[in-house]
């Protein structure tokens, strides 16, 4: 919400800053967290595409006022029919 002068209210600013900082804190203080997330993401993704081995990159990034989970996964090729074993 914007206030009278067109600035966002400090309550909302505080909330966004907190969400942002906590996303990083939670990921940093629990090293297994990112590891598990990466493993699970890769398991699902590889059902659809053949992942190009090295260079999988998964990280939390601050984008303006929110946190984004950004993945860079090299793809060797797409599987012909989505999830294998589904047909």
């Amino acid at each position: 919400m914007l206030n009278f002068f067109g600035r966002s209210q400090s309550r909302d600013v505080a909330k966004n800053r907190l969400r942002n900082v906590l996303a990083h804190d939670r990921a940093d203080t629990s090293p297994e967290f990112m590891e598990h997330l990466r493993d699970d993401v890769m398991r699902i993704v590889s059902e659809y595409v053949e992942v190009g081995g090295q260079g999988v990159d998964l990280q939390l990034q601050s984008v303006e006022d929110h946190v984004a989970l950004v993945a860079n996964i090299p793809v060797k090729q797409l599987r012909r029919r989505g999830r294998p074993g589904n047909n």
Partner: protein, 264 residues
Amino acid sequence: MGEVIVITSGKGGVGKTTTTANLGVALAQLGLKTCLVDADIGLRNLDVVLGLENRIVYDLVDVVEGFCRLKQALIRDKRLDGLSLLPAAQTKDKTAVTPEQMRTVTDELRQEFDYILVDSPAGIEQGFRNAIAGADRALIVATPEVASVRDADRIIGLLEAAEIPPARLIVNRLRPGMVRKGDMMSVDDIVDILAIDLIGVVPEDEQIVVTTNRGEPAAMSRESRAGESYRSIARRVRGEEVPFAEMDEPTGFFGRLRRIFGQA
């Protein structure tokens, strides 16, 4: 068998000691035998907030080192039946007590009291480790500020790792007027972000300064709004369902009138 509850926050200055003192008073007023333990060794404060500073003979470290029996170190509050304090040492530091020793002390207190409230020092180092060592559950104090909520989140993670059951949250020093104007995070904002259960909301109250000056916790008097909140929290601690009071400050003529007649 009594229950051991640690009161903690991570960040300093958010009102752990004031909360411990007032909650202790409120529990004792309900007729529950309550012992307050100051785990902030080297920075003893709970004694002055309670106004018991002149009655200290022995302290927690004396008990642990075997200079006295536990009962000799306990100070009974003469104003309020059922309330006792186990003071911290002022001359030692956090390393004077180990988590195992702390557990031994709180376990002994369980035999005697219904509730043992442990006032944790700020931080996440050994003082904190000691404070949570014997705890069955935790109450987390946070003010509606980014730094305080952030530290509370870290503490929640550490309590989970220590396998202490889900902590409950006390939002302290809330200013409802500022929340309405969009200048302070609301209780819902904080609960939403931390994803833990709320056990109470304490409004900012100048009476806290006055009562702390006097060494008479606000919960001892009927006039303080904060004191009223602590009494509600005490009842929730022992398992009662107490509805959360509307935290809106009364405004306008009728609001002021309501306040005068004590319904606000």
